[in-house]
Symmetry: C2
Subunit: 189 residues, 2 copies
DNA sequence: AGCAAAAATTAAGCTGGTTTAAGAAAGTTA
DNA sequence: TAACTTTCTTAAACCAGCTTAATTTTTGCT
């Protein structure tokens, strides 16, 4: 069962019975996506929260020149959506697309509410996830505001070597906030 | 009572009895800080989560050239700490200082755990706060990666005009990721 | 009010990183 | 294995934003 991935993840944060856990996963839909397939469209109401079982997604937007810019990746055990738009049930500022063939759980906003109402312990689970994600975003902002683009790349490669291998360079460049050309030049050294 | 500020804020997210609310605020200490007074030191274990009753705090670090760089502000009704260090009870990557004379509630990590255990509804409160904060951080990363420094400033001034008046320009410049000199040049136009 | 310190402005010179454009390599499809 | 498409590389010209440094304005203190 592929849903074991989520159950295992929840169990690292909470103590829940097997019955509860198997009830919980019923709130989710499981779907597979091919490389470059779209999961969420900007301008549409953001009604889905995603959990990656296998594969890799990215959250991106299109800048004023028509370039795709990646703001966040999500690999196995990561949650992803436009959280602000999801919480307010507004239209999304971002697109979500599969970077590679992926297996993904999703939950609608109303099911998410139901899940949290029925299993209040899940509030703790998500509180912990978001507390950490927000903290990590602040540290990321710190790096952006203190390191040169070259240092940002080397730091990221040291911290996540396997990830640098995994995603195409032009997506990595966009995530790190530099041009593919400059990233290529940095790597040459 | 100054604690009403927190109570009022919690009530916008949860339904709780007055008895519960007044028990909750007992978990917090209230303290006043003068302008430039330090609340949290980098390199020290991060054992406090802060809530601003009145005034303004900022989360900053010192870059390799010895410059103070602001990553986040917190005004009335905002929570602030180095969330990653707080959750893991590690030493902080950041300093926290009062930007102006401020009145602040604080809670230690162990009291925070106790509070969440005793009042599980508070999990929902913090889940919501962090979900929003993380979403906002992603949108902020989007702006950083798509707008010129000039556009970043004008956008921020349009969105938060009163805030631009409130904090010193050199802190605002640092928060927006540009030099005070360049910000000054932009404003001249 | 008067002094000292902190913050903001101005301007010139400089550089890290972008833009543009073209070619090479790697992946995909039939 | 050939043709097409996507991704990566290279190099030169360019510029947004930084650095430096000197001056002015504002703030805080007694």
């Amino acid at each position: 069962m592929t849903e074991r991935t989520l159950i295992t993840h929840i169990k690292t944060y909470l103590t829940l019975s097997e019955e509860e856990l198997s009830e919980i996963v019923l709130f989710f839909d499981c779907q597979s996506y091919n490389k470059k397939e779209t999961l969420l469209l900007a301008e549409k109401r953001c009604d889905k929260l995603f959990f990656v079982i296998k594969g890799c997604l990215h959250l991106y937007f299109i800048d004023c020149l028509g370039n795709q810019k990646t703001t966040q990746f999500a690999i196995e055990n990561w949650w992803l959506t436009d959280f602000l738009a999801f919480q307010n049930q507004k239209q999304s500022n971002f697109y979500i697309e599969a970077v590679e063939k992926s297996k993904v759980l999703s939950i609608s906003f109303s099911k998410y509410q139901e899940l949290l109402d029925k299993f209040p312990k899940m509030e703790k689970y998500f509180r912990t996830i978001y507390e950490r994600a927000y903290g990590a975003a602040l540290v990321r902002l710190k790096y952006i505001n203190s390191l040169s683009k070259e240092e940002i790349f080397f730091r990221f490669r040291d911290d996540f070597p396997e990830f640098v291998q995994r995603v195409p360079q032009y997506l990595l460049a966009s995530f790190l906030g530099l041009t593919p050309e400059y990233l290529s030049e940095i790597k040459r050294k």
